[in-house]
Amino acid sequence: MGLSAAAPLWGPPGLLLAIALHPALSVPPRRDYCVLGAGPAGLQMAYFLQRAGRDYAVFERAPRPGSFFTRYPRHRKLISINKRYTGKANAEFNLRHDWNSLLSHDPRLLFRHYSRAYFPDARDMVRYLGDFADTLGLRVQYNTTIAHVTLDKDRQAWNGHYFILTDQKGQVHQCSVLLVATGLSVPNQVDFPGSEYAEGYESVSVDPEDFVGQNVLILGRGNSAFETAENILGVTNFIHMLSRSRVRLSWATHYVGDLRSLRLNSGNAFGKKYPLIRASYESKGSRGLFILGTASHSVDYRKSAGGFIHGFRYTVRAVHRLLEHRHHSVTWPATKLPITQLTSSIVRRVNEASGLYQMFGVLADVILLKENSTAFEYLEEFPIQMLAQLETLTGRKAKHGLFVINMEYGRNFSGPDKDVFFDDRSVGHTEDAWQSNFLHPVIYYYRYLPTEQEVRFRPAHWPLPRPTAIHHIVEDFLTDWTAPIGHILPLRRFLENCLDTDLRSFYAESCFLFTLTCQKLPPFCQQGYLRMQGLVSTESLRQHRVESRLLRDYAPTGRRLEDSSQQLGDQEPLGSPLAPGPLAQSVDSNKEEL
């Protein structure tokens, strides 16, 4: 079976996978997609492959899914929150506070049905993952340990080679795409100088007293590593945290996560500093090899959620979308909408999208403008570091400019030596929105798709290259960005100025007037009214329109202004919707909405 020529999976660091000639003595079963590991990430990928009707198999060494959770964390308490009631019905929004569920179309497969605890028990996770696999009928081969992976060059193959997987029984599986979702549990066989001093998590003491005054190196960085680190943080001199994958795809990471303050000295022991996967989660060494789940965390090492269920469930979906395009010519899903829906589509997403929220800075929505900006395509949760390659990765065209909608925490402008955190400062004014500290939506406008160079050499602390224009939606503690004046109006003005058009909405009566008195119409009238879908105002709204007009130039000290605000000197206020320019607004209305 050519095993002799195959590099063992946990070979020397740096060598990703050895390329071997594979004698075709027998024809092993061939799969389009092989997923290693039936943990959360593996099951999540299996779900998407199943829904898309793809040929796939999941290999799991344990008899049931989620074996990691049968042993870890040792205190049996998950650190991922399970907020069952958010006060909102929106299922998408609620995933922002559900850190354990996998994505599926089946509302029964939400973790809140499995545990009432805010920090749930690990046993519930095991039960949940089992149900997920069973209910959805995912194709998992249990009790199958993949011992070796080799590459078999073949020009017919999707990626120029097949992945040859050999399990513990010597059974061989040939795969076009290999998706590694084995997690980062403590390696069974650590093999480096000094490894003999390592102690396994399963046996390590949970008593902090045993670590007083010591320098501790923690290998691995799952919840277990944090659990351990947190436990002994107060008593140790220094904690180093390091990790590598079980399959020894030798990279080291800068993971900081919740233990950000520890200042990790990463990876020097292994001589390899940079992760070997791209922002698309594909291995840099082997095309067609993707890293999913916890192990893929190097992509967003400085941020957070990519190493957790509530983060990687979205990155897995992104990987699946990339694969769908690459191998099945299915373009990245997008909604095509008229430009009049631009403001609304952004408002909708920033208010409910969970993927944007959990994977801020990593996955972002992209709006591709159509010619003349009359319409646009809305793409959800694209890996933004791959922005320059968007056209080839998604099959969509970005010729006429684009918006990127990203969620961000406040930025550091003052340099490393200064304290950026102003005392108790949260931003309340729209003009100061760019200084928002808490997670808030940021919209980037590019006239042209940035190049790879521009993405790589972007300004420090910028998640994206310098845009043509940028807009921050002012932070909101309830992440409710629907205030008409505070959030929606400034967003519209930004979009209008980017597109150099008028995105206001108008009643049919106004459109009627414009149609007969102007040669051009604003988009709202063009795309609505002229297509016989104008918005007819009711009597009470008409009254308000008359009133708002009267208030148009309202100035408290000038009666003259008030008079002149009747622009037409009109006895018939109904006939005066001419160019609803800026309408005055009672001063208190702003306050009320906020």
Binding site: A433, R493, L535
Partner: protein
């Protein structure tokens, strides 16, 4: 009294320039008491603030005082901060820190002392100081009697400027005092803060500051009251100045030159001129009229008497008024106005009010970008507190959605609670529910996609609002009509039955065509369509059925394909396959041959057939006529169209004169917005009815049928021929500007750049340098938090797209308002 001041009264405009455009760079000198008193010059006024040496170096009061240095200097008043040091105790130095006061000296005579809390801001400082200095020139009164005494004393001698301000020390008070500084020797200034006094002279809106000009100088009879002119602009220094200037100008001037060339002080002040055309024979009467008009327009326009007889240029024979706008290069207008009120209203409607901005902090550049300018968003916001009878519709959730739409025929409104357009339409939707209450088999439901996003996505709803109809055994249908009560109601009512209706007998077909069969539905569809097919025409029937189904909810369609179909086709002279169109309002039945039987073509034939030959154009139906891409020939009518005109136009239609146009009429009673359209076309507006040709699709020219001609066939034909030959001049061209952003956005990118450069990590952009210099200046004596805040304040650059070329379409109209 203060002779020194007269020097400064020269060239008020210069002073005003200084006040408003000079940056306040002068800072407050700090002197010791001895030094201070040595600087005092005889006859010169000086304001000094005495404070303990160990008092805080900054305070709100000092900041305001610092700001007042420059404006007070413009009035020849010096300002100083005097530090009371131990060595030289002055009696002006208070005993305690918090008892420090400001003192106003003239020469070295103390005029007044001010507790610092009366000088609460720069306006209060300037107002109080001038008030003290101009004690004789500004009389402060508290009752009507005082006012009457002053008035009586000045009759035949001088005019009075009387003003009311709510309090001493507020910006309006300062403005009055600044005006008094300039005009105090020419006019008697009278000031009050008594609201009762203002009311007793008959003012309205007493919550605002008021300024009146009392024309007392002209009054010779002491029993007569002085005429009063109210200044209508807000009380600011500049406005008062302009107001007084117009009061000073002569009331009525006689001219005998080309009005285009005439210029008076009014034009310079941005006010229009009104010429009353006079001739020898009626001179006396004209002059009286002109005087009357002049009084009415005092402060709003200049009035002149134009002597036609000695005029060298020609003006139209019938014109009796000439109107000249203040804007340069705009031709004068010749008007025929037979009523003084018409003249007044014409002027008032055409005044170009230029708001003069003089906010010193320059925070009010143009319209505020934080103010809502979306009419839908604004009206929905204003209406948010009104309770709608939402209970008339069923609110669906993820749990109830499928069960509900499966169980009964339903209409579902998909909306988003935060989206203004959705919420505006929700009102119409509820109105439909009110109208259908208890009568419809269709269940009216709604689902808020802000809550049930997944349900909406599953129903393929990606934009809002969307209305869908769910009927048992049928695919859901999206409503594609106007988002309004009437059209949606029509859609729901017409969908009570399925289309096309299968007609099974000749008798039923006749009932169908006469409207008898669906009596209760024909009010929603003025046309019933009947497809006639022989039983063998299978594909044609299928295509027609598809078309009928497609048009369900918009028009009634039926199909007849029994063996005896030939009876019908013969009766209506139609060769099969054919459509019969029954127009119920006109009681007419037409036949249309079905050459092509593609469903799409049939839909097109039917939609075209729904169009009328001479429709009343409305907000709702304009799009279907606009679609034809032909110039509109619109007859504007105040009420129902005159049958004579209608007949004339229909005759022309029949004679094919109007094939290249879309003739229609507009009832201003039903469509009041039509007045707005007429105003865009005509100025002044001739009497109705008006016949207009609007070339909407190419060029935008508007031609008017001469209003002095009768709307009869002959005249129309002649006019159309002249139009065709290019002999008619257009009255206006519709603006062709694109719709640009109504206002700029916040330029966060520049703010970020500036903040970065401020921290020294980026190169300073050139344009920023000036502000930075100031910044650095301030940093030296301001605490850190202020410094941190400062760049943000200066960086509220609201004009990233400074050109502001927006909305010329509207601008053009604005000129006409």
């Amino acid at each position: 009294m203060f002779s020194g001041f007269n020097v400064f009264r020269v060239g008020i405009s210069f002073v005003i320039m200084c006040i408003f455009y000079m940056p306040t760079v002068n800072s407050l000198p700090e002197l010791s008491p001895q030094k201070y008193f040595s600087t005092l010059q005889p006859g010169k006024a000086s304001l000094a603030y005495f404070c303990q040496a160990d008092s805080p170096r900054t305070s709100v009061f000092l900041e305001e005082l610092n700001e007042a240095v420059r404006p007070l200097q413009d009035y020849g008043i010096s300002v100083a901060k005097v530090n009371c040091v131990k060595e030289e105790i002055s009696r002006y130095c208070g005993k305690e820190k918090d008892l420090m006061k400001a003192y106003l000296f003239k020469g070295n005579i103390l005029l007044r002392e001010f507790p610092t809390d009366t000088l609460f801001d720069v306006n209060a400082i300037v107002a109080h100081v001038l008030f003290a200095l101009l004690f004789n020139e500004v009389k402060y009164i508290t009752n009507l009697e005082d006012l009457q005494n002053i008035e009586n004393a000045l009759k035949g001698k001088a005019n009075i400027i009387f003003s009311y301000v709510r309090a001493i020390g507020i910006p309006e008070h300062r403005a009055v005092m600044e005006a008094a500084f300039v005009y105090g020797t020419t006019y008697q200034f009278v000031l009050t803060t008594e609201i009762a006094l203002l009311e007793s002279i008959g003012s309205e809106d007493v919550e605002y500051a008021h300024l009146y000009f009392f024309h007392c100088k002209l009054v010779l009879d002491l029993t007569q009251q002085c005429r009063r002119t109210l200044m209508e602009q807000p009380l600011t220094t500049l406005n008062i100045h302009l107001f007084i200037k117009t009061m000073k100008a002569s009331l009525l001037t006689e001219v005998a030159e080309d009005p285009q060339q005439v210029s008076t002080v009014h034009l310079q002040l941005g006010l229009p001129l009104v010429f009353i055309v006079s001739q020898q024979a009626t001179y006396e009467a004209d002059r009286r009229t002109a005087e009357w008009v002049a009084w009415r327009l005092l402060g709003k326009a200049g009035v002149l008497l134009l002597l036609r007889d000695s005029l060298e240029v020609n003006i139209p024979q019938d014109a009796n008024v000439v109107f000249k706008r203040a804007e340069e290069g705009v031709p004068v207008e010749f008007l025929v106005l037979h009523d003084v009120d018409l003249i007044i209203s014409h002027v008032e409607n055409n005044m170009h009010i230029e708001e003069i901005q003089e906010d010193e902090d320059n925070d009010m550049e143009g319209p505020d970008i934080d103010v809502q300018d979306d009419e839908v968003a604004e009206t929905v916001f204003r209406d948010r507190k009104r309770k709608l009878p939402l209970e008339l519709t069923v609110e669906l959730t993820e749990e109830t959605f499928n069960a509900t739409v499966m169980a009964s025929d339903s209409i579902v409104l998909f909306y988003a609670g935060w989206q203004a357009v959705s919420m505006a339409f929700l009102q119409s939707y509820i109105d439909v529910a009110v109208k259908l209450k208890g009568t419809s088999t269709m269940l009216l439901t709604r689902i808020n996609c802000a809550d049930w996003s997944d349900v909406c996505t599953k129903q393929n709803v990606t934009e809002f609002p969307i209305v869908k109809m769910y009927k048992k055994g049928e695919n859901p249908v999206s409503y594609a009509g106007m988002l309004g009560t009437e059209d949606l109601l029509k859609f729901i009512q017409l969908n009570r039955i399925s289309y096309p209706v299968n007609i099974i007998s000749i008798q039923e077909a006749e009932e169908y065509l006469s409207g008898e069969l669906y009596k209760d539905l024909i009010s929603y569809s003025s046309v019933s369509v009947l497809g006639l097919f022989s039983p063998t025409m299978k594909t044609a029937k299928e295509d027609f059925s598809e078309a009928g189904n497609y048009l369900k909810g918009y028009v009634i369609t039926g199909i007849y394909s029994e063996e005896d179909v030939l009876l019908l086709s013969t009766k209506y002279a139609a060769s099969l396959p054919a459509l019969l169109l029954a127009r119920h309002t006109e009681g007419k039945i037409e036949s249309v041959p079905l050459a092509s039987t593609h469903a799409q073509d049939i839909v097109q034939i039917i939609t075209d057939a729904l169009l009328e030959m001479f429709p009343e154009i409305t907000v709702e139906n304009l799009p279907s006529y606009f679609r034809l891409q032909k110039p509109l020939l619109i007859l504007f009518s105040d009420g129902t169209v005159n049958p004579q005109y209608k007949k004339a136009i229909l005759t022309l239609v029949k004679q094919k004169y109007l094939d290249s146009f879309t003739p229609c009429w507009l009832n201003l009673k039903n469509t009041p917005v039509g007045r707005g359209i007429l105003r865009a076309y005509f100025d002044p507006l001739p009497p109705l009815p008006l016949l207009v040709l609007v070339n909407l699709h190419s060029g935008g020219q508007v031609f008017a049928f001469p209003s002095d001609q009768a709307i009869i066939e002959e005249n129309l034909v002649l006019w159309l021929k002249k139009l065709e030959a290019g002999l008619e001049n257009h009255i206006t061209i519709l603006p062709a500007q694109e719709w640009k952003p109504p206002l700029p956005a916040y330029d966060f990118l520049s703010m970020i750049d500036a903040a970065t450069s401020h921290r020294g990590t980026r190169k300073v952009p050139k344009c920023m340098k000036e502000t930075d210099v100031q910044e650095n200046d301030k940093e030296q004596h301001e605490d850190k938090s202020a410094v941190r805040k400062e760049p943000i304040e200066t960086l509220r650059i609201k004009h990233w797209n400074r050109s502001m070329k927006s909305r010329k379409c509207r601008k053009t109209r604005q000129r006409k308002w």
